[in-house]
């Protein structure tokens, strides 16, 4: 495997071909999770808890079972009881029992919407009516709905049998599932020597990934106890793995076929309905499809954690950071965990800080179990850090970019968790920000009366996981290549993977046809998430393409009866180095190759890649009377390593920025004291529409990563990190108000303005 970036005059990489799956998607032919129809299929539906915290005393399904058109009913008694086994390999941890109980509650419900039973019926309407007939007797308990309530001394405890791990000590009767600490240098010393110390605490409400496609799960359980599953997921193998645990079946008895996926952002990594459809299928001997409603998605699928983050930074008289402290408390939802190690990794990631101390708490609350949401925990901690940095710059009159450059994290900088950075591109992003048209432009300081304008800047980081991917290639008789891979495609990745194979082979992108296939048809491939797909699956495609060339050379050698080292391949042509008569196109060698068809396969298990940094600039116009905030100019700058397909890289930058803007200005779970989400619809969970956003300028910086032959870095996650603080900083610039709660919605702005007067 090559470890240094290859050169630079690419034929396919960096171009913008039409994505291979595009035609099906613009014509309505593409099949997403809910589109599947199987002969004899029944419709599943689930009964959900109306309470945020309760013991289940009994469930009576008899009325539902008797209904005409109902074919089966299930409760958690139909699932195997699992012990507390920590899952098998070093990148997963967590209890299997929790996994099963999140699918269907056994003795306790821990959030409103928690599934308690399921039915399979002849159609959706009958299934819904049957669910209404399921009688559950609950003993209602007091819920805890935020970290303060959950961590309070007399808090209602979610898991009576769970032992929290507090800095190595096992603790009973706690909602703090884990307390971890990272320490380097001596912060007490650093703060003492500091010329200025600023501390801020931010308080953020739970948010949802907001994908337009609700969760689905379709299953067939056959006569030899094999289960076929069709679902929209970010990871077919993760589904296979999780379903195998919940149903206590060997993985090879389960085949997962991924449908096209309508958005995920991390939220479609966990399983929800698949085991339910499977058990219902077992009971009915028919295919069963279960689909979530939008309300179910809000009530019961994993959101991005809310919580509180406190950051304290001390600088010397020259503006150099001496010490930094963070106290991070994030909501895990009903079951651990809340990505607190990721939070610790990211909180000071943009800075070179000699002394750091981080305390991070993983707190369970009566909300749905948190799922990853695009750079999980990084936006939350960035809000705190970038607010403190902005405050320091305001007080001292430092230019915000120069301050960040003075303290910039770069290759060799020690991170909070200990290891040093390899090649990264934050400095280049900051320099590009400084040089950008946006930054140099005048902020219109005389907007219409009653409106104020402000500008804010913030930086952010997310690392790229590597892990396992597999790719198969097959050379067709017409000289084109079929590529199969297992990375479900949420943003155009199958195109960028095909493009990397095409680059190696020296053929057009259209001549490599990618398909995302089921778990029986490809080697293990880890989730489409963690910004790993273009990097890891692309690397597997790169390797597979090189192996295909080896095959081509080998078979040409046989065909021509010369030795392999007399043969070379480039750009779709294989030829003898010495005899110019001997050459073949791919089509020619593919026509009856000696020894068998030309195929290759490769798999990788990669370490973390270089990580991506983003710097965003936001200009806002705020109406002082109503608090309505318009984003009038926005620029997203990011180190993308190498943009394989620039349009889709820009798309990631713009999409992440849009989500961050929604998070900053309007999005929140509006909870009642009883732990019920009161705004569980798209009307009131207010995501940005086309009217809420300007054109989002993008500046792609390419500092190649050391870990990939084309220098690829993951790009999907960094862009959601800077928007919240960039907007907070812009509000402060406009109004002199330091808002520390999200969302920074109109009512918060007007109330803060009133208080200021």
């Amino acid at each position: 495997m090559v470890s240094t970036p290859e050169n630079k005059n690419y034929k396919v990489i960096g171009t913008r071909p039409i994505r291979h799956d595009g035609y099906d998607k613009v014509t309505g032919r593409a099949q997403y999770g809910a589109d599947i129809k199987l002969p004899g299929m029944l419709i599943g539906a689930v009964a959900r808890s109306p309470y945020a915290h309760a013991k289940i005393k009994s469930i009576d399904t008899s009325e539902a079972e008797k209904m005409d058109g109902v074919f089966a009913v299930m409760t958690a008694k139909d699932l195997p009881r699992l012990g507390d086994i920590v899952r098998g390999n070093s990148e997963e941890s967590g209890s299997e029992r929790h996994l099963s109980e999140n699918v269907m509650a056994f003795e306790k419900v821990l959030y409103k919407g928690h599934v308690v039973a399921g039915v399979a019926a002849k159609d959706q309407n009958t299934a819904f009516e049957a669910v209404k007939k399921i009688k559950v007797d609950y003993e209602v308990l007091k819920p805890v709905i935020n970290v303060d309530q959950a961590m309070a001394k007399d808090a209602s405890i979610l898991h009576e049998d769970y032992l929290g791990d507090h800095l190595g000590k096992k603790v009973k009767n706690t909602n703090i599932a884990a307390h971890v600490r990272h320490e380097s240098g001596n912060i007490d010393d650093g703060f003492e020597k500091a010329d200025l110390v600023i501390e801020k605490e931010v308080d953020m409400q739970t948010v949802h990934q907001g994908y337009l496609e609700p969760h689905t799960g379709t299953a067939v359980w056959d006569e030899e106890d094999r289960v076929k599953i069709w679902t929209s997921t970010q990871g077919s193998f993760a589904v296979r793995d999780s379903v195998s645990k919940v149903l206590d079946l060997d993985v090879s008895r389960i085949k997962v076929t991924p449908m096209e996926i309508g958005g995920g952002f991390g939220g479609k990594i966990p399983i929800y309905l698949e085991p339910i459809s499977a058990v219902l299928s077992k009971k009915t001997r028919r295919p069963v499809k279960t689909v979530m409603s939008r309300t179910d998605v809000f009530d019961a699928s994993g959101p991005g954690p809310g919580g509180k983050v406190k950051v304290k930074i001390g600088i010397d008289s020259e503006g150099k950071i001496l010490a930094a402290y963070a106290d991070i408390r994030l909501e895990a939802g009903a079951y651990p965990e809340a990505f607190i190690e990721a939070a610790a990794k990211c909180v000071f990631s943009c800075y070179d800080v000699p002394s750091m101390k981080i305390d991070a708490y993983d707190v369970v609350v009566n909300k749905p179990s948190s799922a990853p949401y695009r750079a999980p925990a990084s936006p939350q901690v960035a809000f705190a850090t970038e607010t403190v940095v902005d405050e320091i710059c305001n007080i001292k009159g430092y230019d915000p970019i120069d301050f960040r450059l003075k303290n910039v994290a770069e290759k060799g900088t020690r991170t909070a968790l200990g290891p040093k950075y390899r090649t990264i591109g934050l400095k280049e992003c900051l320099e590009a920000a400084k040089d950008s048209d946006h930054w140099k432009s005048d902020l219109d300081s005389n907007p219409k009366s009653g409106k104020k304008r402000g500008r804010g800047i913030a930086s952010g980081y997310w690392f790229n996981i590597g892990f396992k991917s597999s790719v198969n290639l097959s050379l067709n008789p017409d000289g084109k290549v079929a590529l199969t891979e297992g990375s479900t495609d949420i943003g155009g990745s199958r195109a960028s993977i095909a493009m990397q194979a095409a680059e190696v082979l020296g053929i057009p992108a259209e001549d490599v046809r990618p398909s995302v296939v089921d778990t029986d048809s490809i080697g293990i491939t880890d989730v489409t998430g963690g910004s790993r797909t273009t990097y890891a699956t692309g690397y597997a495609a790169y390797n597979a393409a090189h192996k295909l060339i080896e095959q081509i050379i080998e078979k040409s050698a046989l065909k021509w009866d010369i030795s392999k080292d007399q043969i070379e391949y480039s750009d779709g042509v294989v030829k003898s180095k010495t005899d110019s008569e001997l050459k073949m196109t791919l089509k020619e060698i593919a026509d009856d190759p000696p020894g068998g068809p030309i195929v290759s396969s490769a798999s990788v298990d990669l370490e973390e890649a270089g990580g991506g940094f983003a710097v965003h600039i936001a200009d806002l116009e705020i109406d002082e009377e109503t608090g309505k905030t318009d984003v009038v100019n926005y620029t997203a700058i990011q180190d993308v390593g190498k943009a394989i397909h620039p349009s889709y890289v820009e798309g990631q930058m713009q999409g992440g920025a849009a989500q961050g803007i929604g998070w900053a200005l309007n999005e929140e779970y509006f909870m009642s004291d009883d732990g019920i989400m009161l705004n569980s619809s798209y009307l009131d969970y207010r995501m940005p529409t086309s009217l809420d956003l300007p054109m989002i300028n993008t500046i792609m910086i390419e500092v190649p990563s050391e870990e990939h032959p084309y220098g690829v870095r993951g790009v999907g996650e960094p862009p959601i990190v800077p928007p919240v603080p960039a907007i907070g900083n812009a509000i402060n610039d406009a109004l002199g108000l330091r808002l520390l709660n999200t969302p920074m919605k109109p009512s918060r702005i007007t109330e803060a303005l009133k208080r200021k007067k």
């Binding site: 014509t27 990934q209 096209e260 798309g651 990631q652 999409g655 920025a657 849009a658 529409t689």
Partner: protein, 161 residues
């Protein structure tokens, strides 16, 4: 108490230029009718309460959220869905522009946007960015941030001339 069995209703309607008679329950939405009874699944369900536009169809020249329309209301009407946009001669300029401008990432909102945008361009061939954003505000997209969608609609409007 015995449950009253509701009788299905025959509806005569034209979908993507094809006249047909369909048999549906009177309480199902047009969205469910298209997806489950007629069997064309290009129109998507995102929320089922009229707030996301993923189910947008064109009903007698007017775009509607088909989750808010009853199937029986299709009686005697003309419905156009995303499946009717391309012709044997090729893609509609909007579909082509969406591909060229990379105006889709996951693609689930794309049918709704295409149907909405087509209704705009059919009536206003040269809309400004502001007009496009206003017209499309009833269609949610969570992946793209709308930038490339707006650019695609603008491009298509120029190609159509």
């Amino acid at each position: 108490m015995a449950e009253n069995k509701v009788k299905k209703v025959t509806v005569n309607t034209t979908i993507n230029g094809q006249e047909m008679d369909i048999l549906i329950d009177p309480y199902v939405s047009l969205l469910e009718t298209l997806r489950e009874v007629v069997g064309i699944t290009g129109t998507k369900e995102g929320c089922n309460d009229g707030n996301c536009g993923a189910c947008t169809v064109n009903l007698d020249g007017r775009i509607v959220d088909s989750c808010l329309v009853l199937g029986v209301e299709a009686e005697g009407k003309n419905i156009e869905t995303v499946e009717g946009m391309a012709s044997p001669d090729g893609l509609h300029p909007l579909q082509q522009a969406f591909l060229e401008e990379a105006a889709l990432q996951c693609g689930i909102c794309t049918p709704g946007f295409l149907v909405s945008a087509k209704a705009l361009l059919d009536n206003e061939p040269d809309p400004s960015e502001e007009r496009i954003r206003h017209w499309l505000a009833g269609n949610l997209c969570r992946c793209t941030g709308y930038d490339k969608i707006v650019k695609a609609v603008t491009k298509a409007s120029k190609e159509s001339k």
